[in-house]
Structures are given as C-alpha cells and as structure tokens.
C-alpha cells in the first residue's frame, strides 16, 4: 500500500465533519493565545498543540512534525534520534507464532524488547509478559505467575506463555478510542499516534490481553539506553500520559527485519512472517501444526498464534 493510500485523506475531503476547519480557526489569533497559555511555552509547544492526527498529515506536514519531534528528542535525551515513517508494504499482513512446547520462560524476549523499543525504565514498562503456568492446569490465568524467579528455567511441571499485543484483526482497543488515536494499519499492526492520544485509557480497559501500558509518570530512559532508530508509530520516545504497546517492532519489520524478540529467543520459539505469502514459515505453521489463539472466544481474531511444535 502506498504511503498516500494507507492514510485517509483529510476528513474535509471525505465530506465528514470539517475538523480541519475547526483547527484552522484555532490556528488564528485565538490559538496563539490559547496555545501559549495551555502549553506554557513558545512556538514548538504551540505547533504540538495544533498538530493533526498522523493520518491527516500531508507529506510536508509530517516531515515538519518529525523534524520537530527529532529536535525535541535530541534535547531531552542528549542523542540524535531518527524518527522514521516507513509505510506498510503492499501485500503484507504480519503474523506471529509462538511455540509453547519450546519456550522455557527465560525472559530474554522481554528485555530485548525493552532495549529495542525505548519504554520507560522507571516507572517500568514492559510490552511482553511471560506467564508461568502449570502443565496440569493448562492455560489457566488464575494459576499463572508473571513474577517467577528461580535459579533455572524451565521449572519442572510448568510451561511458559509470553503475552504481548496480539495484533487483533478485530481490535477492541481501536473500537473504544474516543479520539481515533489508535488504529489498525493495512499490514495489520495496531498503532498509536502518541501525539493524538489523550490518555483516557479506555483502550487498556478494552484489551483482554493486558497488552497496553500507560505512562503514569514522566518516562525515564538513560541516554546510553536510547535506541536511536525509531518509527513515528512505534518506538519513538513517548511523553507522560499516553498509552503504548507492542507494534511487532514496526521500525524493524517494515524494513524486512525480524522483530527483536524473534532475534533474541534462544530456543527459536518465536516465528514471524507474512500471512499473505503461502510459502512463509508462518503459513506452514498454521497449516501443519496444532495452533490456537488466546481467548479466541472473544472474537478478537488475533494475528498472534500459539502452537505446539512437537
């Protein structure tokens, strides 16, 4: 899908409520006063206040926004940061499969994800949660423990189920967002415009997987830990008061790379690929292995599958 067609044109051009007009009105003298009052700072703060939703930005506007955000990020983190906006690839729908018979619960994925995606270190935010469950009980969330910490894993009689954003085909989080700050891209990744999110956390309440996380405090991210390769809709540094979540490492996968959690997994339990390509690994798994989706009864239709490889 091309950059242009992936984003709906400005709402005005679709004959809907002319949101552009409201904003343009604000852009006048009133806005100058209101912007300065609300943000308490100068030109940049006002630009941020007046910024449109990512999907409504023209190419030029987006470049300006990105330039401003890169400057801000460099000032905050003392490091040059690239904020990309690679569009979805045509004919690609991302899918993920995780082999429950192989995962040993070592949490390498959790920490590789943190390293890649620039979440706050304190207060701590992690996009992947590994649940230790009892083999006798099967997938039973009441008997799941995310805080296990033995000397060695796997522990006798237990299996491990990492949970992250399931990239639902029918995402309840998108449905409830009152402002359209989160949506599903044509390649199947549900993304968030952190500059449009108002922090109401309806999406967190709607997500049955606990996959969304809120920046309750000002995020801390030491300069040496910042990953400077980012995407606007993915791992760029987030402000306080917005929701964030796994994006299948959008900054990597849209360039053809595997997500960071796939690259790190020492057991090779994590599989990733294009659901639309009949020759992909992911399709082989769906067609030949015993596969299930988590909480399938909710009809969220995840594109994250769990399977038993042996």
């Amino acid at each position: 899908m091309s950059n242009e067609s992936s984003r709906p044109k400005r709402m005005t051009s679709r004959g809907l409520k002319p949101a552009g007009t409201r904003r343009q009105f604000l852009g006048g003298t009133l806005a100058a006063v209101a912007g300065a009052l609300v943000t308490g700072c100068g030109k940049e703060g006002m630009e941020e206040f007046l910024q449109h939703n990512f999907r409504e930005l023209s190419k030029d506007e987006l470049n300006q926004v990105i330039a401003r955000l890169e400057k801000e990020a460099e000032r905050t983190y003392g490091k040059k940061i690239r904020i990309g906006n690679e569009p979805p690839m045509q004919g690609v729908i991302y899918g993920y499969a995780l082999d429950l018979s192989r995962c040993i619960g070592c949490r390498r994925c959790v920490h590789a994800c943190v390293k890649e995606n620039n979440p706050s270190r304190d207060p701590q935010i992690q996009w992947i949660r590994v649940l230790q469950m009892e083999k006798e009980k099967g997938v039973d969330l009441e008997a799941a423990d995310a805080y296990y910490n033995p000397e060695e894993v796997p522990q006798e009689g237990h299996f491990y189920m990492p949970v992250q954003c399931q990239q639902c085909k029918n995402p309840p989080c998108v449905k409830v967002c009152p402002v359209g700050a989160t949506w599903k891209e044509p390649d199947g990744i549900t993304v968030i415009d952190y500059n449009w999110c108002i922090g109401c956390r309806y999406c967190m309440a709607a997500c049955p997987y606990g996959a969304r996380h809120f920046n309750w405090g000002e995020p801390t991210l030491p300069t040496e830990d910042v990953n400077p390769e980012t995407h606007y809709l993915g791992n760029r540094p987030r402000p306080k008061g917005v929701v964030e979540k796994c994006t299948f490492c959008i900054q990597r996968t849209r360039k053809g790379l595997y997500p960071a959690c796939v690259e790190i997994c020492p057991t090779g339990s994590r599989k990733f690929g294009n659901l639309a390509d009949p020759k992909s690994e992911i399709r082989y798994i769906l067609e030949n292995k015993r596969v299930f989706v988590f909480k399938g009864e909710l009809n969220t239709q995840p594109k994250f599958f769990y399977f038993y490889g042996v």
Binding site: R107, P123, T220, G256
Partner: protein, 182 residues
C-alpha cells in the same frame, strides 16, 4: 498388416520396461533444499580445535579405529547421545577428520552437520528446513541465517541446557510514578 499377438507382446513388454525406467529415473519431489539457500553460521567449535587435521594428520597420527574410552585429549567430552555403543567415529570420519560422515559413508562438511542429525531426527530436520524447528535470524522477507542443530544442541550431549531467567517485572505495588524528569 498387423503383427500376431505373440510377436507384439515382447514389444509391449519392452515398452513397459522402458516406461518404468523413465518413471524411476524421474526424480521424486526432493525435500532437499539447495545448499545455496541455507546460510549457516560457523559451527560452534572449541577455540582453536579446527581444523582437526592439524593434529589428526593421517601421516603422523594414523586413525585408531578401536572403540575405547578416550584418555588425554578429548577426555572432557562426555558422550550422552543415543545408545551406549555409540562413539566418535560413528559421526567423525576416520579418513578425514575435517569431515563428518553419513551412515552410508558419504563425507560432509561440518557446516552441513544437519544432514547427519537428520538421519535419526528426520522429523526435526523436516521442520528445520521449513523454519519451524530451530532459529532463523535476518530478514523475514530476505536472506536469513539458519542456526545449525549444534548451535543449540551440543552434539555430544544434546539436551537443551536450562537457563537463568532474566529479572522479573517490578510488582505493581513497587512502581511509583514520577512527576518530573529526574
């Protein structure tokens, strides 16, 4: 003029035989992936041990093919893989120590050791070839690196070793939101 049946029969038989040989000669759909397509990392040799022929030179050190417990060199290797009777030269080639050999005697490079493993673990080899068993890194839509069986499973003692888990998440009651940047 048509041939009498007894004269056409040998022709028919010959035709059938010819057809059969053509069928037999046509290669069955081969599961073997072109080795060019499989990029594997360097096998995980002990530092400085390869090439093996730097010690196992057939001129200075003729192969001793007698099954015996090893003393001195390689005594650290504890073989815990398959039946008791298994030993070094079942896989390592006595004639050329820089190669392994398949059960049929065919010599293979260490980088193709998956063929050797697949002789017994055929189901795993099948899954490895399609990217289900084992690990691939690189590009989901381009060149990949396939880890060898021996990258994760020590061939002398193949069970996957337990790992120390990385730190658990901070429990919610210990998370404090900060008002400002420190």
């Amino acid at each position: 003029m048509s041939l009498p049946p007894f004269r056409s029969l040998p022709l028919l038989l010959a035709g059938l035989v010819a057809m059969g040989s053509v069928l037999a000669a046509a290669p069955p759909p081969s599961p073997v992936v072109d080795p060019q397509d499989i990029q594997v990392p360097k096998p995980p040799f002990t530092e400085g041990i390869f090439p093996c022929t730097s010690c196992h030179d057939p001129k200075t050190m003729p192969a001793n093919t007698k099954r015996r417990p090893l003393e001195g060199m390689h005594a650290d290797i504890e073989l815990r893989h398959g039946p008791e009777s298994r030993w070094c030269l079942d896989c390592h080639d006595a004639g050329n120590r820089d190669r392994l050999h398949l059960v049929g005697g065919e010599k293979i490079e260490f980088t193709a050791s998956y063929l050797l493993c697949g002789q017994c673990h055929g189901d795993k080899l099948r899954d490895w070839r399609v990217g289900v068993h084992g690990k691939r890194t690189g590009m989901w839509n381009g060149p990949k690196l396939y880890l060898l069986c021996v990258s994760c499973h020590n061939p002398h003692s193949p069970r996957f070793k337990p790992l120390k888990p990385m730190p658990p998440p901070v429990p919610p009651d210990q998370i404090r939101a900060r008002r400002t940047r420190p």
